[in-house]
């Protein structure tokens, strides 16, 4: 049993190193279009992971993740306008969005189940409408240009790749830390966690703040990369994207959200060229299948495939 697990881990690490090496040399082999696409997929992967920390580990089905994404994007915008550098601006995006996560989290954690879904959905609609209504601040649906002083596609790609890796390492450490274990316990049995003396609400707010901060980082990177932010960043369909990517990739795993975000970004780009409007239908069908037939998500399927691949069973 033990050897089997460690063999799985070794195989997993080997595959990860292969993927990393591939990503590392990518800009030398593919064109501009694909470099941009992979950059976008990585940023959206960070965004999906930020939702996964709240849902897959914290057990809260939040449709409000776009709020933090939007806050991060506009923080970067105003930070650049104020003349701050990229590093400081990104940290500021994480911080401000994290504070939003803390505040929103404190307001909503008392609510549970389907009502939690509703209240976060309505919350993100409210933020979207506010962003739409306050054109002086956000530029409304037309948006605003982010004065980035952008350095170049390949440099930006390596920046995003480096940040994504750091986020993956951070998240892996977090979910295996004592704090991460408490998150999982609350997700699996909230009442028991409460009876054991953990202040459930405070942990949930913490999960929200961390998830919010990471979503802010993703929003900031996205605004930096595209040079643009608009009220649409707050729209709840953007929250729904994170939900779908995470569920399809595999909720409650660190790599799953990246798999989901990357795969669907590619599917979207490929399908929109061939078949136009069919993409949402396919996503819907996949989501239904994921929920009913393979709850582990694609990453769960992949792990199963890897496990069976070398014949390590028996």
């Amino acid at each position: 049993m033990k050897t089997k697990t460690s063999r799985d881990v070794r195989k997993f690490i080997a595959i990860m190193i292969l993927i990393l090496a591939g990503l590392g040399v990518l800009p030398f082999f593919v064109g501009r279009f694909h470099v941009v696409l992979v950059t976008e997929a990585l940023i959206l992967g960070v965004y999906a992971l930020s939702f996964d920390l709240i849902f897959g580990y914290g057990g809260m089905l939040s449709f409000g993740q776009s709020v933090f994404f939007g806050v991060g994007a506009y923080t970067i915008l105003y930070s650049f306008k104020g003349g701050l550098g990229l590093g400081v601006s990104l940290l500021l995006a994480v911080f401000v969005a994290g504070i939003f996560g803390l505040l929103v989290g404190s307001a909503v954690v008392r609510v549970r189940g389907a009502k939690f879904f509703l209240i976060t959905l309505v919350g993100s609609i409210l933020f979207y409408l506010l962003a739409l209504d306050n054109r002086w601040l956000t530029g409304g649906s037309d948006g605003m240009i982010v004065p980035t002083g952008f350095s170049g596609l390949a440099e930006n790609y390596y920046l995003v790749l480096g940040i994504s890796l750091s986020v993956i390492i951070f998240a892996t450490v977090l979910v295996n830390s004592p704090l991460g274990l408490v998150f999982k316990m609350i997700r699996d049995n909230e009442r028991r966690a409460g009876l054991l003396g953990y202040s459930v609400g405070r942990y949930k707010v913490t999960a929200f703040a961390i998830g919010g901060g990471l979503a802010g980082l993703a929003g900031g990177l996205y605004a930096y990369t595209t040079g643009f932010a608009s009220a649409g960043f707050f729209h709840w369909t953007r929250s729904a994207d994170a939900v779908v990517w995470t569920i399809l990739g595999g909720a409650g795993t660190v790599v799953g959200p990246f798999v989901g975000a990357a795969l669907l970004t590619f599917v979207r780009e490929t399908l929109s060229a061939i078949m136009g409007n069919i993409y949402p239908v396919i996503v819907g069908v996949l989501l239904i299948l994921a929920v009913i037939v393979f709850p582990g998500g694609l990453f769960g399927l992949l792990k199963g495939a890897v496990r069976n691949f070398g014949g390590s069973d028996e």
């Binding site: 239908v281 819907g284 989501l287 009913i292």
Partner: protein, 291 residues
């Protein structure tokens, strides 16, 4: 327009829109309140009902047909969704995700089939009456009357018939209910059918008053879900009161401010209600609050 006629318009439009919202939310209430399953696709069923009305008008030549076609077809669709949800119906989070998938499929199919350009159905009753010097369409009054009638039938069905009694029993204790011979899963499917039929008829009724887009269902869903939750689960008449006050409030706010600000205020107050009193939403709110 003077202030008084503005007020009258805000009130009347709010009240008509409110009865349709009440119809929609009681459809959701049957599925969510009486069965505990969240059907995110409810709004999309309403969208399908509205497009069916457009098809009845454009291809079959009569809008009025849709008042029969929409509830039947959409009701059937509701039953199919119920069948699909069978394995996950008791898990609120999975049912939200699954029905959100259904929403994407319905909305995406509408986009593929009927395109993204807004469709319009002309008013089937073109007469109007004068209200403070401005014309007010009779069709809106007709909508309010039909919605009221359907709501009364629904109330009768849930509160005064054996079917309604079994529905309510299944909500209280589904295991005990099936032990005494109530076919709980059949009821579940019938409830989904009923919810679908209500969404279908609401869509058909509203079709001549709005422009139809594939996204219209999801936009209305959050409002309808809010109404069900603020009004409390299982009680049809409370959803009706909340729906009408919601729509009147929004109608007045839209007339006197603008429509975005009106929506912001309405959502804000609804959120406050839920946050201040989260147990408003519970199964037996009265008992929970006493403790």
């Amino acid at each position: 327009m003077g202030q008084i006629s503005k007020l009258a318009f805000g009130l009347l439009n709010g009240a008509t829109w409110g009865t349709v919202l009440a119809l929609l939310s009681s459809g959701l209430n049957v599925v969510f309140g009486l069965m505990g399953t969240v059907n995110v696709a409810h709004g999309s069923l309403y969208m399908v009902g509205a497009y069916l009305a457009w098809i009845c008008f454009a291809s079959l030549g009569s809008f009025w047909l849709s008042l029969i076609v929409s509830p039947l077809a959409v009701g059937l669709l509701g039953v199919l969704i119920g069948l699909l949800l069978k394995p996950i119906r008791k898990n609120p989070i999975l049912s939200v995700l699954g029905t959100f998938g259904v929403t994407l499929v319905l909305q995406g199919s509408a986009l593929v089939l009927w395109g993204g350009t807004p469709r319009r159905v002309p008013l089937p009753l073109d007469s109007s009456f004068s209200l403070f010097g401005t014309g007010y369409s009779f069709y809106r009054i007709f909508v309010a009357i039909v919605s009221g009638l359907v709501l009364f039938c629904l109330w009768f069905l849930v509160e005064r018939t054996k079917f309604g009694l079994s529905l309510r029993a299944a909500r209280e204790d589904s295991e005990l209910s099936s032990a005494i011979g109530i076919p709980v899963f059949t009821l579940f499917l019938l409830g989904f059918g009923l919810g679908g039929a209500l969404a279908g008829v609401s869509g058909a009724l509203i079709a001549p008053l709005v422009s139809l887009t594939p996204g219209m269902g999801l936009r209305v869903f959050a409002i309808v879900f809010l109404i069900v939750i603020v009004g409390g689960l299982g009680k049809v008449w409370r959803s009706v009161i909340v729906a009408i006050s919601f729509a009147v409030f929004r109608g007045l706010a839209s007339v006197f401010l603008d429509s975005t600000k009106g929506l912001i205020l309405t959502f804000f107050f609804a959120l406050l209600v839920i946050l201040v009193n989260p147990n408003v939403l519970g199964r037996r709110p009265a008992n929970e609050n006493k403790n």
